[in-house]
């Protein structure tokens, strides 16, 4: 028996929420970033599932774009993290709070 669309979507949603909760609760910049990646990939699952359900390649194409963009983001993001870590010697977002109010 093939799992139905609901299963994929549910999986995607669960992953998405896990990622989301991770973003909300983790303090390590890198972990947060990983969680964001997880959310993106959860979305990819949805895309592909939807695409397959309606027999369209668009979902897969979109997923490819998302992966590409995520890679670009990762490159830039890590550069920023490194630059900051060099100056501040921390990757704990709880200590990056000079800018506030």
């Amino acid at each position: 028996m093939h799992p139905g669309l609901e299963w994929y979507l549910s999986l995607s949603a669960v992953l998405f929420v896990i990622g989301l909760i991770g973003v909300l609760t983790r303090r390590n910049v890198l972990v947060i970033f990983m969680c964001v990646e997880m959310m993106l990939n959860a979305v990819n699952i949805s895309f592909i599932a939807f695409g397959r359900a309606i027999s369209s390649a668009t979902g897969q194409v979109f997923a490819l774009f998302v992966i590409t963009v995520a890679a670009a983001e990762a490159a830039v993001g890590l550069a920023i993290v490194i630059a900051l870590a060099r100056r501040q010697d921390t990757v704990d977002v709880g200590r990056i709070d000079t800018l506030r109010e």
């Binding site: 979507l9 900051l84 501040q88 800018l99």
Partner: protein
């Protein structure tokens, strides 16, 4: 591979994009061939090239104006909305180059690199402007955002610059996740990512479909982040504050315009049939956004940060234009005027806000901070700058006949047209509150004695930028008719 065929593209519709792409390539090449020792000189040339490039792209609009069409298999929508947004974005780019050129070099940053990244960001924005499907929207938004993350952290010496960049980046990618989740659901519900097709498919979807609501919510949240709507605005003050001031000028206008472009594309062009569902969301957003922005701005002592909150407030005003969208075929003219008011607002905001930030840049170039106290007695020490700042503040306040006033005026017209008089009153009350903190800057400039002299500094690019933006604020205000006429065709 039988059915793979590339849909034809009418390249005339992407001439501006090609020009800007060309500009990016030229700048990259310059970076590759130029020597580090002559960086300053090269930077100046690169600025000139950028100005010419963006200028050329703007001028090219004149020639492509009549070739409005949907092309590229529906991926490209070259319509009035596109044209108007392109005008706003390219003007923003132009002004940003003018504002940045001196400052970036004074802060010993690489101007050339800066301009390259800027051109990518502009290109991203331009892609959103002509987006005909969700992929284009997504690509454009991301291209813009990623470039702006870099620009935000561009100041290598500044810790807050990095901090701002990090926060922006983390939250930005978080929001991206939400946005594309919304796009995924849109795709799932409508079975397509093409905006026109979504509109067609959407007509047959029952209102109150929970998945639809979810999709709309995710889209609104994701895009709300990009335009800095409360409560998705939290990155804004920190990122704006942390970024180098010219970058703040740019990002308070450019990506915001791109965000609105995306929002209009997705909601107005795409989810038209679901307007009765997303309009209430937008109304709620607009009210809390403007109110929150204005109230918090009152307590800010740093002008840069104050402008960040003010920028949030202005997002709220702009959202009123979208909130005034009315369901029904007979409302096309009204809707055109409502969305046109939003467009006009982005135009007005581009000139005024970049102007205001360029004053901050001007001050920083002269060794002053952005704290309100730095403005003490500016009217005495630098009357020209004070007058310009007064114009910008007055425009933001909404004093006629300046650009900002007309922007607010059209917004109010739209709201009242849509029977949202109470919303118009809230706009008015918010304007009154906002007058306080804008006025405070003016008051400090004029009413306080100066504490020290200005360090003299040659900043001719910046001077030109100031002149253009202040003149634009006045003249486009008094003669706002043609601009608005173009804007209100947005739905045609």
């Amino acid at each position: 591979m039988p059915d793979v065929s590339f849909p034809p593209i009418h390249y005339v519709t992407v001439v501006p994009h090609l020009i800007v792409t060309g500009l990016a390539v030229v700048l990259l090449l310059m970076d590759a061939v130029s020597r580090r020792s002559r960086a300053a000189r090269v930077g100046q040339i690169a600025s000139l090239v950028s100005v010419i490039g963006y200028g050329a792209a703007l001028v090219s609009l004149l020639f492509t104006y009549d070739h409005r069409q949907v092309t590229g298999g529906g991926s490209i929508r070259y319509d009035y909305m596109a044209i108007f947004f392109l005008i706003v974005m390219l003007s923003t780019a132009l002004l940003t180059v003018l504002v940045s050129a001196n400052f970036v070099q004074l802060q010993s940053m690489s101007l050339l690199e800066y301009l390259v990244i800027l051109s990518f960001s502009v290109l991203g924005m331009m892609v959103v402007a002509i987006a005909g499907d969700l992929i284009m929207v997504f690509i454009g938004i991301e291209l813009t955002s990623i470039a702006v993350y870099v620009l935000t952290g561009f100041s290598r010496q500044s810790r807050i610059s990095h901090e701002g960049a990090l926060k922006y980046f983390l939250l930005g990618s978080f929001a991206t996740g939400i946005l594309i989740y919304g796009m995924a659901w849109t795709f799932g519900i409508a079975g397509t990512i093409n905006l026109d097709a979504i509109r067609t498919a959407g007509a047959s979807i029952a209102t109150g479909n929970p998945s639809l609501l979810l999709a709309l919510l995710l889209l609104v949240v994701g895009l709300g982040f990009k335009i800095a709507a409360v409560p998705f605005h939290m990155w804004t003050p920190d990122a704006y504050h942390g970024a180098p001031t010219p970058v703040t000028a740019f990002m308070s206008v450019g990506p915001k315009a791109a965000g609105f472009a995306a929002m209009l594309r997705v909601l107005v062009n795409g989810w038209t049939p679901a307007a009765d569902q997303w309009v209430p969301l937008v109304i709620v957003l607009s009210v809390i956004t403007m109110t929150f922005g204005n109230i918090v701005a009152v307590a800010q002592n740093n002008v840069k940060r104050m402008l960040a909150y003010s920028s949030i407030a202005h997002t709220g005003y702009m959202l009123v234009g979208l909130a005034s969208y009315q369901v029904g075929a007979s409302k096309m003219d009204f809707n055109g005027r409502a969305i046109g008011a939003l467009l006009f607002y982005t135009f007005a905001y581009a000139f005024t806000n970049i102007g205001a930030f360029s004053i901050l840049t001007w001050m920083q170039a002269r060794g002053r901070g952005t704290n309100i106290e730095s403005f003490r007695g500016l009217a005495t020490t630098a009357p020209g700058a004070a007058i310009a700042m007064t114009i910008f503040m007055a425009s933001l306040m909404g004093v006629p006949p300046l650009l900002g006033f007309f922007a607010k005026y059209y917004i109010i017209v739209a709201a009242i047209n849509a029977n949202l008089t109470w919303l118009a009153v809230i706009v008015a009350l918010n304007s009154a509150v906002s007058a306080y903190f804008y006025l405070r800057v003016v008051a400090v400039m004029y009413f306080r004695e100066p504490d020290r002299q200005i360090v003299p500094q040659r900043t001719s690019w910046l001077g030109l930028g100031l002149a253009v933006s202040s003149l634009g604020t006045v003249l486009f205000g008094v003669f706002s008719g043609p601009v608005f006429d173009l804007a209100r065709k947005v739905l045609l």
